[in-house]
């Protein structure tokens, strides 16, 4: 067997890796670390007490709650959608497969604002189904369900896209063998497919979650911006900023950033656990 470190050792002689690492570090500092630092610096610029008061403000607290709730509702649905769509597309032949593939990509290719507006035109009071819904006292636009709906739409491709690429590369033979060995559809998925896609699934879910929490455009169209009722964190940040409450805006932004960190840490812990179990 060849030494797996050999190619690395060979390149150590020249300086290219060092230069590349330096460039990477500088770019990370400039474009990722600096903006993050600014958020916390600004949020804490008037002291920790003001920061705490800003976060504990009922409107901000409600925005945090609404953003978390949106993630809790939308993420499972989109994971389920992504997994089933990817499974159907990569493991089976059926009519309309192309169409489904295109449909999955649609939310990526149209602007979130347009998505928001089209929901407005469908479900809004003056929209296509608006009067019908109004007759039945069902209010969707400018309320929480609208936020769930558009967020779901905008973030639906993440998991599916991540999985389709991987599952296409893996092919169907394993599932086919499992079927001849007597595995039912569910057993095939649970015991053969899932273990082979779990990292991509986790990664897709993390990406999806980040977007769910951060989505601004589509949500801003349909939420109605009712303070303390239909404001998610990104909307709250913008609102406070327009109110000339920069410290408050940055405090809310810092919460959003922390939520992102929590997601990343959760992912790291899961990965570590799974890694430990294997070795």
């Amino acid at each position: 067997m060849t030494d797996p470190m050999a190619p690395l050792a060979a390149t150590r002689a020249n300086r290219t890796p060092a230069i590349l690492i330096a460039v990477g570090a500088v770019l990370t500092a400039l474009f990722i670390a600096a903006p993050l630092l600014v958020i916390f610096d600004q949020a804490l610029s008037k002291g920790i007490d003001v920061y705490r008061a800003n976060i504990l403000h009922p409107e901000t607290l409600h925005a945090i709650w609404l953003t978390t709730l949106t993630a809790l509702v939308v993420l499972p649905i989109n994971i389920a959608f992504g997994v089933t769509a990817a499974w159907a597309i990569t493991k089976f032949e059926f009519r309309g497969k192309r169409l489904l593939l295109t449909a999955i990509d649609l939310p990526f290719s149209i602007s979130p604002i347009v998505a928001g507006v089209s929901y407005l035109l469908l479900y809004g009071g003056l929209g296509l189904w608006g009067p019908w819904l109004m007759d039945r006292d069902i209010r969707i636009m400018f309320s929480v369900p609208a936020i769930f709906l558009v967020t779901m739409f905008v973030t639906s491709p993440f998991v599916a896209r991540e999985l389709i690429t991987l599952m296409q590369a893996q092919g169907r033979e394993r599932e086919e063998v499992a079927a001849t060995l007597g595995a039912s559809g569910w057993q095939m998925f649970r015991r053969v497919t899932l273990p082979n896609i779990k990292w991509a699934l986790l990664y897709g879910a993390v990406l999806c979650n980040a977007r769910v929490m951060g989505e601004f455009g589509a949500v801003s169209v349909v939420s109605g911006n009712l303070r303390g009722q239909t404001n998610t964190l990104p909307l709250q940040v913008q609102l406070l900023y327009h109110d000339y409450n920069a410290t408050g805006a940055f405090a809310a932004a810092s919460v959003l950033t922390l939520l992102a960190f929590v997601t990343l840490i959760l992912k790291a812990i899961l990965e570590r656990k799974a890694f430990d179990r294997r070795s």
């Binding site: 033979e173 394993r174 086919e176 063998v177 499992a178 079927a179 001849t180 060995l181 007597g182 595995a183 039912s184 057993q187 015991r191 053969v192 273990p195 082979n196």
Partner: protein
């Protein structure tokens, strides 16, 4: 368990892939599907496994159509060329898979399953490797794991798609003999796909030759080798000389080569093609009266492959000669020679028109 394949047809889009395949496979028979790339071998195998459905025709087993049975109920063992092992499971779990997925009523106890796995591991000469992962095995070992996994469900039919295609020549030879002995010991019906004619000739009870979705010939290895039905089969079985000849008054006319074995032909005067295998050509040294010149000599071990340039139209004929004999006869490049054919087959319009002498 016998399998009766009737008039099977299958298109992928507009492209016909199987065009009326009729084949009866006897219980406990080992059948090789042999054919060039794209001839429909894998498609036929996948239909038997229940992974693909034909557009026409039927597959009948025990008097019942198999086509409305899902793969889960057919009890076939399937092995792909690239093994398709479950990479995230140990070897033991791979082999146990087919037993573990049974529903509670029919699932054997854990102890029974483990005993079965151990038994298969030793049958496959894999003892001691049960706790490894597929990535930690050699190609030949993985192939045997795939086979063990298929055998764990005690299939009545074993389907193998180029099972040894990805292995080196020596391992292939060992594994195919061993496959034959497993087949005999366990008493299954086996269908295996290959495009290696040597493999098929060595271990199959019968060989089915497919071309462009149709069966060209079915027969025992001897029948196929000695009586290839068409020039296609003849070519497919390995390098062969094709010599255009004339037929006059029932006799073949060909310069120099003395085709005495072709004395009585019941065909009209016409052109035909004479097929002669390199092993069936005798070469002896000649002085000026020879009819060919040795052009190249290449080494094949005990044998040598010799290219002969015939006088006149300079047709090249290949012969396989014993190297000791060649040394005794002082046959080497540039030597003038006589050429004689011991056997040959004559085809007119793609149909064999002589029997082997």
């Amino acid at each position: 368990m016998g399998i009766d394949i009737q008039q099977l047809g299958k298109n992928f889009g507009k492209q016909p892939v199987l065009r009326g395949v009729d084949l009866t496979i006897a219980d406990r028979e080992l059948v090789a599907l042999l054919g060039p790339s794209g001839s429909g071998k894998t498609t036929l195998l996948r239909i038997l496994a229940g992974l693909e459905w034909p557009d026409r025709g039927d597959v009948v087993v025990n008097g019942q159509s198999w086509l409305n049975q899902p793969p889960q109920l057919r009890k076939v063992g399937l092995v792909f060329q690239h093994y398709a092992l479950f990479e995230h499971m140990t070897i033991a779990e791979n082999i146990a898979f087919g037993l573990r997925v049974r529903d509670r009523k029919t699932r054997p106890s854990d102890a029974t399953i483990m005993a079965k796995v151990e038994e298969l591991l030793s049958l496959m000469e894999l003892a001691g490797l049960g706790q490894r992962y597929p990535a930690q095995l050699s190609g030949g070992q993985r192939q045997r794991v795939a086979l063990a996994r298929a055998l764990a469900i005690e299939p009545q039919v074993l389907l193998l798609d180029e099972p040894f295609g990805a292995l080196d020549a020596r391992v292939r030879r060992d594994l195919r003999r061993w496959l034959r002995s497993i087949h005999d010991r366990l008493g299954m019906t086996t269908v295996f796909v290959t495009h290696d004619q040597e493999e098929a000739l060595e271990i199959a009870d019968r060989i089915v030759i497919l071309n462009e979705g149709q069966i060209v010939q079915i027969g025992t290895p001897e029948e196929i080798y000695d009586h290839p039905a068409t020039p296609f089969v003849q070519r497919f079985l390995g390098g062969v000389n094709e010599i255009p000849v004339g037929v006059f008054a029932g006799r073949v006319q060909v310069d120099g080569i003395e085709p005495r074995f072709l004395s009585s032909l019941a065909t009209a005067n016409n052109g035909a093609t004479l097929f002669i295998r390199p092993q069936d050509i005798d070469v002896s040294p000649a002085a000026a009266d020879g009819i060919a010149t040795i052009q190249t000599v290449s080494f094949l071990g005990d044998q040598a492959r010799v290219e002969l340039a015939m006088d006149g139209d300079e047709t090249i004929i290949e012969a396989e000669l014993n190297r000791v004999q060649m040394r005794d006869d002082k046959l080497d490049r540039g030597q003038r020679v006589h050429v004689k054919a011991r056997h040959g087959r004559l085809y007119q319009n793609d149909v064999a028109c002589t029997a082997q002498p």
